[in-house]
């Protein structure tokens, strides 16, 4: 059974329509790549899932209708988001960033610092004094502290040094293999997506235009729909 289902989802920013027909499903333990060129609606889709913008159509999470929920209520159901742009709580330390988001469950301070040992070394440092990569690790760890059933990573490795990118991808692979957590990943790197994702959904101009197994994503499809 699908954990997250989006069917014929439409969304707009005021009078400007952004999503026209989004269809997406994620099952328990599945890692799904949400792909598409810039401006095709990937981040907007994430915002509709997290209830940050209103949407019409069918949005369900674990059989529960998401459309009437506020953003924080959706998060409490078990949707964890790592937002685009390393958005930590700047004035809080690493530990405080994580404690502020903490909800009961298997993910606690000790476990997230095992996943990102570097955060343990920086635990008393303010988030705004960390490097970009470390801030991204805080953002991922903070989402894990909410003990989500579905983790959404929106451009989590964008603009990071190759070695840090490797660490983040390593953590995603570890999450997949060791926890069986459902994950949606948005990223530009097809090579790395292919290594961790089971399925892919491609968006074009606010519509789902391709959905299938990662292994079925041919070079022709990726060149035509993603430009990679």
């Amino acid at each position: 059974m699908s954990l997250l289902t989006l069917q014929n989802v439409k969304a707009s920013y005021g009078s400007s329509e952004a999503l026209f027909d989004i269809n997406l499903s994620v099952s328990e333990g599945e890692v799904v790549a949400l792909m598409g060129r810039n401006g095709m609606g990937k981040s907007t889709t994430v915002k509709t899932i997290c209830r940050m913008i209103p949407a019409s159509g069918q949005l369900t999470f674990d059989g529960q209708d998401l459309s009437s929920l506020a953003s924080h209520q959706a998060a409490r159901l078990g949707i964890g988001l790592v937002p685009e742009g390393r958005r930590c709580f700047a004035d809080l330390t690493v530990t405080e960033n994580l404690q502020a988001a903490s909800r009961s469950g298997p993910w606690d301070l000790a476990r997230v610092t095992t996943l990102f040992p570097r955060l343990d070394e920086r635990k008393r440092q303010r988030a705004n004094t960390l490097s970009g990569g470390e801030q991204q690790m805080v953002a991922v760890a903070r989402a894990l502290m909410t003990n989500p059933r579905l983790l959404i990573l929106d451009e989590a490795t964008e603009g990071l040094a190759p070695i840090v990118r490797q660490e983040i991808w390593g953590a995603i692979a570890q999450l997949k293999n060791e926890t069986g957590m459902a994950i949606i990943v948005i990223d530009k790197s097809l090579t790395e997506l292919a290594q961790v994702c089971d399925r892919a959904t491609i968006l074009e101009r606010g519509k789902t235009v391709w959905d299938g197994l990662m292994t079925d994503l041919t070079l022709d499809i990726s060149e035509r729909l993603i430009g990679v």
Partner: protein
């Protein structure tokens, strides 16, 4: 630079030492000044929870200060005139007991903060400032029209209220009560700031939308902070009324709200003892310059201007630098 925790200790020791010195040298007026500073500090610590932790720029905190004051005034007035506060549907007598008066002051000001917060927190920024100011003014004009309790002339209480085991008419005893309450509230404030609630509130102040994605409701966090803030400011109002043995609509005025905010900004917003430093400096200036000129607020304005321009962390920030990360 002095580390902030040492500075906090030093400030509290000085605030305690001045009235003790005054007691030895038989200067009761100085004790009253220190008591006034402690009460103002308490009110400002209350506002600092909303303003410093929650980022809520409230220009209506005089409402809670005044409610606390009138709670004391009304209960004490009925106790001294031997008349009940109300008879129907049940009888409520007045009282001269400070702990009961504090409890009533905190419950009434907390209830008012809850109702005002529920409406005001639907808005943000300048609208929040204006709506809290409007609520403060509503209470101000209501108190003026409330003839049963003195209207514009206010209400005098002849004898200071009682505290078990202490003669509250002795200035140092009343100072001890106010100072103890201030320390207790500062301790609670410190705990709140480091608690998961305080961290979440701080996060909500920085990024209200982002905080929702980790399952926190920023509105609810801010409402709780606003109510807690109102409760503490209400307690300060009850003590202030007891200090002066007088309540009047002035306690509700927007100038009172402005002064409480000045204490916080002058000492340092979101700094634990910032409000204490601000209140002490205010009372010192009021005493030192008030005798020289009726328009002493001009100097206060100049000082505030300098602090805002050159010491963004207030006087505490100027002395101890940027707030260190919690350890």
């Amino acid at each position: 630079m002095i580390r902030e925790r040492y500075l906090n200790g030093l400030v509290l020791v000085l605030l305690l030492a001045v009235p003790l010195w005054a007691l030895i040298n038989d200067q009761p007026f100085t004790i009253t000044l220190a008591t006034r500073a402690a009460i103002f500090a308490l009110a400002a610590v209350g506002l600092n929870i909303a303003l410093g932790l929650g980022g809520l720029v409230s220009l209506g905190h005089a409402a809670f200060f005044g409610i606390g004051g009138y709670a004391m005034g009304i209960l004490a007035y009925h106790a001294q005139t031997y008349t009940p506060v109300m008879e129907l549907p049940f009888v409520i007598e007045g009282t001269k007991s400070m702990p009961i008066i504090w409890l009533v002051a905190m419950v009434t000001s907390g209830t008012a903060a809850l109702l005002i917060g529920l409406l005001s927190l639907r808005t943000t920024g300048v609208y929040f400032i204006m709506i809290t100011l409007a609520f403060g003014q509503m209470f101000y004009f209501f108190s003026i029209s409330w003839i049963a309790y003195g209207g514009e002339d206010g209400l005098s209480i002849y004898i200071r209220n009682d505290f078990p085991g202490l003669n509250t008419l002795v200035p140092i005893n009343f100072f001890a009560i106010c100072f103890t309450l201030l320390c207790l509230v500062l301790f609670i404030n410190g705990l709140v700031a480091r608690s998961p609630f305080g961290l979440a509130l701080n996060a909500a102040r920085q990024a209200p939308q982002r905080v929702q994605t980790v399952g926190l409701d920023p509105q609810r966090l801010k409402l709780v902070a606003f109510v807690l803030s109102g409760v503490i400011t209400g307690l300060a109002g009850a003590l202030f009324a007891d200090l002066n043995r007088f309540v009047s609509p002035t306690m509700f005025s927007w100038q009172t709200s402005g002064e409480i905010m000045i204490f916080v900004i002058l000492g340092g917003t979101a700094r634990l003892c910032g409000p204490v430093v601000g209140a002490v400096v205010f009372v010192m200036l009021e005493h030192a310059l008030g005798g020289l000129s009726e328009y002493w607020h001009i100097y206060l304005g100049a000082l505030l201007l300098l602090v805002v321009l050159f010491a963004r962390g207030g006087l505490v920030g100027l002395i101890s630098g940027r707030a260190v990360a919690h350890d």
